[in-house]
Symmetry: C2
Subunit: 391 residues, 2 copies
């Protein structure tokens, strides 16, 4: 299969963008990525845009075409893809596929969402578009409810403590403080976390990712174009070794186990196999910590941390930026923010910065990185693996 | 490039489905297509679902995963794609790409929309998600307005008459009468058309496609799987020769000409070239007649009818089911209906029925068929070409 390289990345800050039109944020991130890639706009043969709820929250669709129009791209296929919170990861995977299938020499993936302009009930209703309403709405279970149940079960089965779950928040908030793109980095205490508002017992305010606006973009290219651009490049290329998309049950009752997401388990296994790597070879991962407990579950599902040990690892500092395996050195969704459709592309942005060794919260000697993006109640998942090629 | 074959097709009727949940319609069409294809569900390696406004109108997203869940498909990539009215065509193209790239042996494309349950202002607002609001909303130009302008310009430049445009409606309504899936087939008169309500001068009520619910699905397979299934098949396979997706300007002011859509012109040219066919070899086309005048413009943009002659051809019966080139023997959007995200997949359904020679409004000796799906103000377009292989 033809090799795929990340040539350029771009991102807006995550946070409140005060009503900036959604297409402006997408164009900004994409323009940064194209500039960074040093490719000619006419080389870009496909555009994928990940977005979840621009329809309900902005009354705007066909964003892929609108953004291509503003960017002055050619008459190329432009497609919005959606898989709830995994929309960005799906956009990246399709740009990857466009190049790895040999059909184009360069493709751009863009992820974007604006949410902070809407009133809270509207935002909640929009986010609930990710539920399987027919089966799960009658129970009244919301996303905090689902992850609250998962937390309780993880605690019962593996003895995971409140302090261990809080350690995820402490770590990610601290990481976020070192990331200028992050919305809510902070130096906080366990006491602050445990005295914050109860959202859905045991989940408290600091255990939840914030509502965010933001966009990110990634330009991927073929080996042929990489070799052509190579001599004039100032920044190293990063190779995308694999990019896998899976699905799990859309219904909560369809999950085999509440403390594991099948879609993550299978995506990680296939992505590692395609990249011919073992979990121990992963130096850092940007994973889907929509809630604090999700980071612990994800790290185990990805086979990066032994089952049931996620809480211990974070408590012992093994997932810190200077630990055995850096998890969410960007601050993750908890501190960097979660503009839904942008997140999966932004994770690639962060990993590529790390593998280029130019991240403000650098993981020393980072060589192999992974991204993990999860949608809905685990119904859609992407896992991608990257390698720095000049290190 | 590996060859791609349509093994199975399914569709619901188009029309009012009285509040049937959107996922039920999609599952029904998909189950028909899988049954028709006689493939094992475990052979299906990718699912693409075309949908435009389920978020705003139903509060439901991640439909690709939800539908796969109900169908009992494997843990495969399931992706919603969106490009306004071209969403269905984009879904088909991505299923085609999944097989033509060699990554899977079978893929399913589903298109679905439900609209009739919503109140008219809600539906209008949802459809307007396809506008480039920043540029085009200030003018107050709606879709009937755009096509009304195009009509006036076509009349001025080529002398196209009211009677010629009405002939499109007469033909498609009559074709729809022979299609049991069609929402609004009818035997009507020019007088009825010309005395119907004025929507946006010169566009009157009968010049507009109706609001519809519906779903369609298509299973595409590789040559390997085709040969494996071959001996036990009762129905002939249809080969998908090419499937092309393009974009045009998202802004009305960005169009070079109001009586031509660049995205259609280039998609058709590339699709014909890839299929190694000339326009004269096309026996029938299902094209995007969202308004009566659109059929005339599309037929010219697709290079199937000489520029400016679209009105003459329909008036002379050359585009009737027994004419030189059958246009919209299904009844088209005008008579069959336009459940937005479903339309592009439903066009493939109709063409495949024709090429299998099992259509209730059969084009005699049909061997090569084309589909054309156009989104927004021409911002997204797909054109696909098919050949019956047992004829």
């Amino acid at each position: 299969m033809p090799r795929v390289f990340v040539a350029g990345i771009g991102s807006t800050t995550f946070g409140k963008h005060d009503g900036t039109p959604i297409e402006h944020l997408a164009v900004k991130a994409a323009a940064f990525a194209i500039e960074d890639a040093q490719v000619d706009r006419s080389d870009i043969g496909a555009l994928y845009l990940g977005n979840f709820v621009s329809g309900p929250l902005n009354g705007k669709e066909v964003l892929a075409g609108i953004v291509a129009d503003r960017l002055g791209l050619n008459n190329i296929p432009c497609t919005k893809v959606e898989g709830a919170c995994a929309s960005g990861g799906i956009a990246f995977r399709h740009a990857y596929l466009a190049v790895s299938s040999g059909s184009v020499d360069a493709a751009i993936a863009i992820g974007v969402e604006t949410m902070t302009h809407a009133k809270t009930p509207q935002t909640t209703a929009a986010l609930n578009c990710a539920m399987d309403h027919e089966y799960d709405s009658p129970s009244g279970l919301t996303f905090p409810g689902l992850f609250g149940l998962a937390w309780r079960m993880h605690s019962q089965r593996y003895g995971t403590t409140r302090d261990e779950v809080a350690a995820v928040v402490l770590k990610n908030k601290r990481n976020g403080l070192r990331n200028p793109l992050a919305q809510m980095g902070a130096e906080i205490t366990i006491d602050q976390i445990c005295s914050s508002a109860m959202i859905c017992d045991p989940i408290q305010l600091y255990d939840c990712c914030p509502t965010s606006d933001g966009a990110a973009a990634v330009v991927v290219i073929s080996e042929r174009l990489m070799r052509q651009l190579g001599p004039s490049r100032k920044v190293p290329f990063v190779e995308a070794l694999s990019s896998i998309q899976t699905r799990g049950s859309s219904r909560i009752a369809g999950h085999r186990d509440l403390v594991s997401f099948d879609a993550t388990v299978s995506a990680a296994a296939i992505a590692l196999q395609r990249a011919a790597l073992s979990p121990a070879q992963i130096d850092l991962v940007e994973l889907h910590d929509c809630f604090s407990i999700a980071e612990i579950i994800d790290s185990e599902d990805l086979s990066l941390v032994p089952r049931g040990q996620g809480g211990k690892w974070v408590m012992e500092g093994r997932t810190a930026v200077d630990g055995d395996l850096a998890i969410n050195p960007s601050g993750g969704l908890l501190a960097k923010g979660h503009p839904v459709g942008a997140t999966g592309v932004a994770q690639v942005y962060e990993v590529v910065k790390q593998l280029r060794h130019e991240h403000p919260n650098q993981v020393q000697n980072a060589r192999i990185g992974m991204t993990h993006n999860l949608g809905g109640t685990g119904v859609a998942c992407t896992v991608s693996i990257f390698r720095g090629i000049d290190t």
